[in-house]
Subunit: 213 residues, 2 copies
Amino acid sequence: MQALAQSHAFQPVPASHIHANNILNGPGALTTYSADEEIYGQGERAGTLYEVRYGAVRLYRLLSDGRRQVVAFHFAGETFGFEAEGVHSFFAEAIVETGLRKVVTHTNNNINPEMLALALRGMVRAQQHLLVVGRQCATEKLGAFLLDLAARQGDPDRIDLPMTRLDIGDYLGMTIETVSRSISKLKAAGILKLHSLRSVEILKVEKLRQICE
Amino acid sequence: MQALAQSHAFQPVPASHIHANNILNGPGALTTYSADEEIYGQGERAGTLYEVRYGAVRLYRLLSDGRRQVVAFHFAGETFGFEAEGVHSFFAEAIVETGLRKVVTHTNNNINPEMLALALRGMVRAQQHLLVVGRQCATEKLGAFLLDLAARQGDPDRIDLPMTRLDIGDYLGMTIETVSRSISKLKAAGILKLHSLRSVEILKVEKLRQICE
DNA sequence: CGATATTTTGAGCGGAGTCAACTCTGGTGG
DNA sequence: CCACCAGAGTTGACTCCGCTCAAAATATCG
């Protein structure tokens, strides 16, 4: 079990890892990935899109100084893998046990019109992320992040956090300590309740929304 | 694209604010906007895409607390106006005197395949922006911003800054004072040279790239 | 040339980063 | 079943960068 050994060393790929299990081959096939397994790497040839059937995925880039910027999380029902050039500019990894389905992008040389809609949704998501990261206050960032997750996961006040605090920090541009302190602050204010480390309940959605707008 | 024709087009706009002048009507027509004129507003019905022929455009959103997040700048040759929903989620304004051309998105109910490429480029741009804003140090943010502008404007070491310090600050998530201080710092380090407030020369591209990676 | 807006610079303060210690959780094996 | 342990998360002390408020300098426009 490699677990989260990358905690402080963001080595792209652990040497020995179980390869993804591709039950079928081709579009519609379900491929399963275990936690922390790489789906594709920065620099690899792009082309295939993936739809998340279950689990969660993180997209990130490594900076030369060792820092890591998580650019997106993806959950069940969402599609990722878009690239403008022919090469992936990010790493994609499964956060937990995850099932992916390859998406058909072309049908006999014609671009599937649904691709445009998906690409646009991806752009809006990135811009939305920008609005969150651009905020100044750490608590605001975290609150906005939680509200976004709640909306995407369907349940308005119960949130599943498959990712670690480090993932959240690298996504929001803050340290794990600050992530933790922000959670504690919202907890102390009676806005959040943690059922476990990875399961959050929003007790006062409106109050949180006020803070994060 | 005819590179930097807008280089010195930043002359103060005639005071008598001429309203956008639409010479023709329909795709291919050139519409001109004076400085600070609105192109479209948040909430307006979307649908049309615009290609910048000359000048510069800012896209931004207003937050309820009065702050403003600039999500993108667009220069000659770039296309903007994409939306996932049918409504614009941002304001678009001309920064200086700007000429826009409407882009044909559909040809008899078929999506122009080039749209997908443009949308993808927009998404990558937003993710790139994210990497910059996610950086911690203010000087790094500014440096990365300048390197991005240099690459987009064609000239590797001469940059036009049609936007104000406030625009830059709202784009990078920092105050105008910090923007100014960061510029001064890079100037003191011999990395930048200001020919005017709106014209920057990068003296040591490599050194700047080291800082900002 | 004067009036206004923009930019720069300065002083002080607060929030987030850093370093470090401690606690909690889940998994393993005796 | 429980003791143990490694990794994850929390909390505390301190520092420093960037925000705030304020004022000076520069640019722009009538």
